[in-house]
């Protein structure tokens, strides 16, 4: 089975008309397309950066507030400039885009404009027809990010083929490709931090807050994020983290959104290899977020690539008994009780603390309110895991790997005020 089609959708800057694109996203997903949704009020630069990093087949833009000819044109131009014109552009905007406008936009290089009254079916069909066939040989990437993005696509595609194959051969077979085949020879290895925890605990919000601190603290270093959303084999998925991760839409952040494509446990069949590649691609840190996990999940166990694991908990886990069943509480290096603004947070903290004591391991427990700006708990977490040299958990594990460059990390903490 070929890998699902990946497209990116977005609404232009200063435009909040997202009703049409939300509907179209839902419809695409129902018909097997993986949609990386960037959200509304998005600039040309954000859209093109995301499209290149995600290496999507096409960008679907929904524009209502006027200036569409210029905006679509600017996206096409920037893609071209970045050597990414194999990423196609299509879109719509109801009656605001006239037939004359559309003709002009097509001359500029836009594939298709859908007018008011087009059926959802027609749009889905268009995407399958135009973006469904495997890409022919690709032009040489123009930038390291683009090269990395292409390689990640290769890994995902191969994993998809293998999944299909192994599904036919044996139901329980390993689906892993040989990571060595794609590893680059970069001497630097990033520190890989894995975030996991129940659905909606605040993993994504927390990571984006950490990224904000990272970007403010370091002026050059880069990090990568590998984020996961659930999907079923042969179905589409909404990969929506980019829309909420406002701080991570930055040239110094390489972000890739992946669907689990039927694999249980919170990660995708391609995760391991993608992670291995990212870890050797010149980033200081690679952050990986699993999908929301159940009690028995231990997503990072066999991987061996993850240096540090963070379990993000929601105070509303139910009774103390439930805690006994959560395997990750034994394994995580850091346990975060997020949403500590909620009523149950104090109880949760005490109960989890007691639970961790059973382990007799050096585990850290931190309370955060990720949704609050400049939350001191998040500051503490940042210092602990991303804070550079003085980060307490920096040297503990994963020290067999060569350390990433810390030259540009100032020792004095510069906290954003």
């Amino acid at each position: 089975m070929p890998a699902p089609i990946r497209v990116l959708t977005a609404v232009p800057i200063c435009d909040g008309h997202d009703s049409a694109i939300n509907t179209i996203n839902l419809e695409f997903i129902r018909h097997g397309v993986e949609v990386v949704y960037l959200g509304y009020h998005r600039s040309v630069g954000d859209i093109v950066r995301a499209a290149i990093q995600e290496d999507v087949r096409a960008i679907g833009i929904s524009s209502y507030n006027g200036g569409h000819s210029e905006f679509f044109g600017a996206v096409v131009d920037l893609l071209r400039k970045k050597g990414a014109d194999d990423i196609k552009v299509f879109g719509g905007g109801g009656g605001t885009i006239t037939h004359d406008d559309a003709a002009m936009m097509k001359r500029k290089g836009v594939d298709e404009i859908f007018f008011a009254g087009t059926s959802l079916e027609e749009m889905v069909e268009f995407v399958h027809q135009h973006y469904g066939k495997a890409r022919r040989k690709r032009a040489r990437p123009k930038s390291p990010d683009q090269e990395l993005a292409h390689k990640l696509t290769d890994i995902e595609d191969r994993a998809a083929n293998l999944t299909a194959l192994s599904a036919r051969v044996s139901k329980a077979g390993s689906t892993r490709t040989d990571p060595a085949a794609v590893r680059t020879k970069s001497p630097r290895a990033a520190r890989v931090i894995g975030f996991t925890g129940p659905g909606g605990a605040g993993k994504t919000t927390l990571i984006d807050e950490l990224v904000l601190r990272f970007l403010n603290k370091n002026r050059q270093s880069r990090l990568a994020i590998l984020s996961h959303d659930p999907s079923v084999v042969g179905r589409g998925a909404l990969l929506g983290d980019r829309a909420t991760m406002i701080n991570s839409q930055n040239d110094r952040v390489f972000m890739r959104s992946m669907a689990t494509r039927g694999q249980a446990g919170g990660l995708s069949p391609a995760t391991h290899d993608c992670l291995a590649l990212l870890a050797r691609s010149g980033f200081d840190y690679v952050i990986i977020e699993t999908v929301g996990t159940g009690q028995e999940a231990m997503p990072f166990q066999k991987n061996g690539i993850v240096d540090l694991t963070v379990l993000v908990m929601n105070p509303d886990y139910g009774s103390r008994l439930q805690l006994q069943k959560i395997v990750m509480l034994d394994l995580a290096d850091v346990v975060v009780v997020n949403k500590s603004d909620l009523q149950r947070a104090r109880t949760a903290h005490t109960e989890i603390e007691q639970r961790l004591e059973q382990n007799r391991r050096d585990q850290q427990l931190i309370d955060t309110v990720a949704k609050r700006h400049r939350d001191p708990g998040v500051d503490r977490l940042f210092d602990l895991i991303l804070g550079g040299r003085d980060g307490a958990l920096q040297r503990q594990s994963g020290s067999d790997r060569p350390r990433t460059s810390q030259r540009d990390v100032p020792t004095k903490k510069r906290r954003k005020r």
């Binding site: 909040g16 509304y40 006027g66 959802l120 909404l238 406002i246 700006h373």
Partner: protein, 602 residues
């Protein structure tokens, strides 16, 4: 239990009270006799008017009942127009033309109410002129053009994208958006240009500003501009409305710029200021329109609007603003489409609001009124054979008036294409005049179409469905919790998706789109009102000059503002100072440094 839960109980209790009254009227004879007497009294005092044809008609139509139980059901369950629980209207006479000929008229002590009841001026077109284009001076010119024959000047202002998102015209990547779809406002100087030549303190002037995310900053600019032109004494005389509805932005319109909690806090700061200093200002317009247009069902629209309203009321009370002070300064804004619910959506909303405000918040009569502005549905207007949109709008207007809306905006037939052109705006406005002034439907008799068995059936179904929505929101933990969990958003999105699917599977006939389509799509002449680059550059240059001129003062003002926000004090006075020397984008940016940026929800 949040106040919303209490509202559910209050409505249930009130409904039970009505049933009890009905029973009592039937069993308790003196009570029944008393009611009957009151009823006959009311009827006797109804003036008789004459249609131009000479036909005599009562100015208020009442159901033909003479049994005490039914009278109780009517008086307590619905209320006369202008009486609790206001099902039939917020005021006694609404759209009635002035009395021409009266056959029997007793002075009934309600004359004062009659005066205030005449909200819709009959001498002018009953329209609000929503407009905004290019730079402030261009919009100003348009305002003068639109009001040239009008005695009262009610200006309704649309802002461009950068302004709606609280950013400056010199921000990255927005150049092409300057002055598009609305007017570009960066500074207090723009605000002065915008309303130049209008007497802002006059009782005949009111300004409405359709903006929510940065509303407190824009409001401060408006006040500052007024003070610069008319001195500080003008402030208490300022009349108008600013939308400032944060909940619906998060739920549907997507123009929130700070995280939800600080957004609400800045809003409350502004409301605290305006209720105290500007008694004639409406500091918030609680809007279902955008929820409806984003694709919600009518019941979702009504339920979320009401629950948002109750959540605001709870917030303001918590801040210590007396309910009878802010209550009369709340107004509502609903969508009116073609679905059957719209026959009674606003009627039911008005009743629930009144009961909730009276019985849960202890509000007095003026704070119980659900004062409503209605706009016909833009989304129901489609590109295919667009002239049909005239009929759609006319039908929607009819529904809006059947709901006794206090004011109305009718969309132009060219709505799907671009900022409406003059030709179609005129036709849309005339649609209102034709219904209200030309036709005899609404001008002779109040309650002309109220209370049909069908309407009553819809009322019952809609009320039950709204209360169900309230219960669900309450179960999640109240409005704020539900908003943060994106409950309303996901409900709206699902409804929108279903709506589109229904169009394409044919369950929802849309004439000339999926039914009776002839293939020839005529399109109006779309005259794109593009803002010339030269003007956009002018705006950027002006802004640069303003920033340069005020650089030092701006820094101090922003530091002060930031410190006040950090300390958690009411920041509105500091905003009033800041806008004198800072641009919108500078203020937004500094506030975001302190409280963070809004994290959009999918």
């Amino acid at each position: 239990m949040s106040k919303l839960g209490q509202v559910v109980e209050a409505v249930e209790k009130y409904n039970k009270f009505v049933l009890d009254q009905v029973r009592r009227a039937r069993t308790d004879e003196p009570f029944g006799r008393d009611l009957l007497g009151r009823w006959n009294d009311i009827k006797a005092k109804i003036p008789i008017t004459r249609a131009p044809t000479g036909l005599p008609l009562p100015r208020l139509a009442l159901p033909e009942i003479d049994e005490p139980g039914e009278i109780a059901r009517y008086l307590f369950g619905e209320g006369l127009p202008g009486e609790f629980p206001f099902l039939n209207g917020a005021y006694r006479e609404m759209y009635l033309e002035p009395i021409r000929e009266v056959e029997s008229f007793e002075k009934n002590g309600e004359s004062k109410e009659k005066k205030t009841g005449k909200k819709i001026p009959q001498v002018e077109e009953p329209t609000r002129l929503f407009s905004g284009l290019m730079l402030a001076e261009d919009t100003n010119e348009r305002f003068h053009y639109l009001t040239r024959h009008q005695r009262t000047h009610r200006l309704s202002t649309a802002f461009d994208g950068p302004t709606l998102y609280g950013i400056d015209s010199d921000a990255d990547g927005v150049f092409g958006k300057i002055g598009e779809g609305g007017v570009a406002i960066d500074t207090v100087e723009d605000m002065m240009r915008l309303y130049d030549g209008f007497d802002l303190g006059s009782p005949n002037f009111s300004a409405s500003m359709t903006i929510s995310g940065p509303a407190p900053i824009i409001m401060a600019m408006y006040i500052a501009a007024a003070k610069r032109r008319f001195g500080p004494k003008v402030v208490p005389r300022l009349r108008g409305t600013i939308q400032a509805d944060i909940f619906k932005e998060v739920q549907a319109q997507n123009e929130t710029i700070f995280p939800i909690e600080p957004s609400l806090r800045f809003l409350t700061d502004m409301v605290e200021f305006t209720t105290r200093e500007m008694p004639r200002w409406y500091p918030i317009s609680i809007s279902g329109y955008h929820i409806g247009e984003a694709g919600s069902t009518p019941v979702q629209q009504a339920a979320y609007t009401l629950s948002n309203g109750f959540a605001y009321a709870e917030m303001f009370v918590t801040r210590g603003i007396p309910v009878d002070q802010f209550g009369p300064r709340l107004s509502f804004f609903l969508d009116c489409g073609l679905d059957v619910e719209y026959i009674a959506l606003a009627r039911v909303s008005r009743r629930i609001w009144a009961i909730g405000m009276r019985d849960v918040f202890g509000a007095g009569p003026k704070a119980q009124l659900y004062k409503l502005h209605t706009q016909t549905s833009g989304r129901s207007l489609i590109a295919a054979e667009f002239k049909n949109n005239l009929t759609r709008t006319a039908a929607e207007l009819m529904l809006a008036y059947m709901n006794a809306t206090n004011s109305c905006h009718s969309n132009s037939a060219d709505e799907p294409f671009t900022t409406p052109s003059e030709e179609w705006i005129r036709l849309a406005a005339h649609g209102q005049a034709i219904l209200l002034e030309e036709s005899g439907i609404f001008k002779h008799t109040m309650n002309m179409l109220s209370g049909s068995p069908g309407m009553k059936a819809v009322e019952r179904a809609v009320e039950a469905a709204i209360l169900d929505e309230f219960r669900e929101i309450e179960r999640i933990g109240g409005v704020l919790a539900a908003v943060e969990e994106r409950y309303q958003r996901s409900q709206i999105q699902n409804a929108a998706h279903k709506y589109e699917q229904q169009i394409y599977d044919g369950t929802r006939p849309i004439i000339a789109l999926n039914k009776y389509r002839n293939g020839s799509d005529d399109i109006p002449e779309v005259k794109l009102a593009r803002t010339p680059r030269k003007k956009q550059q002018l705006q950027v240059d002006r802004l640069a000059k303003f920033k340069k001129k005020n650089a030092d003062k701006a820094k101090r003002a922003l530091d002060k503002l930031a410190a006040i926000v950090e300390r958690g004090e009411n920041c509105f006075p500091a905003l009033l100072e800041a806008v004198e020397v800072c641009s919108l984008g500078q203020i937004t940016g500094r506030l975001q440094d302190v409280v963070g940026r809004f994290r959009p929800m999918v």
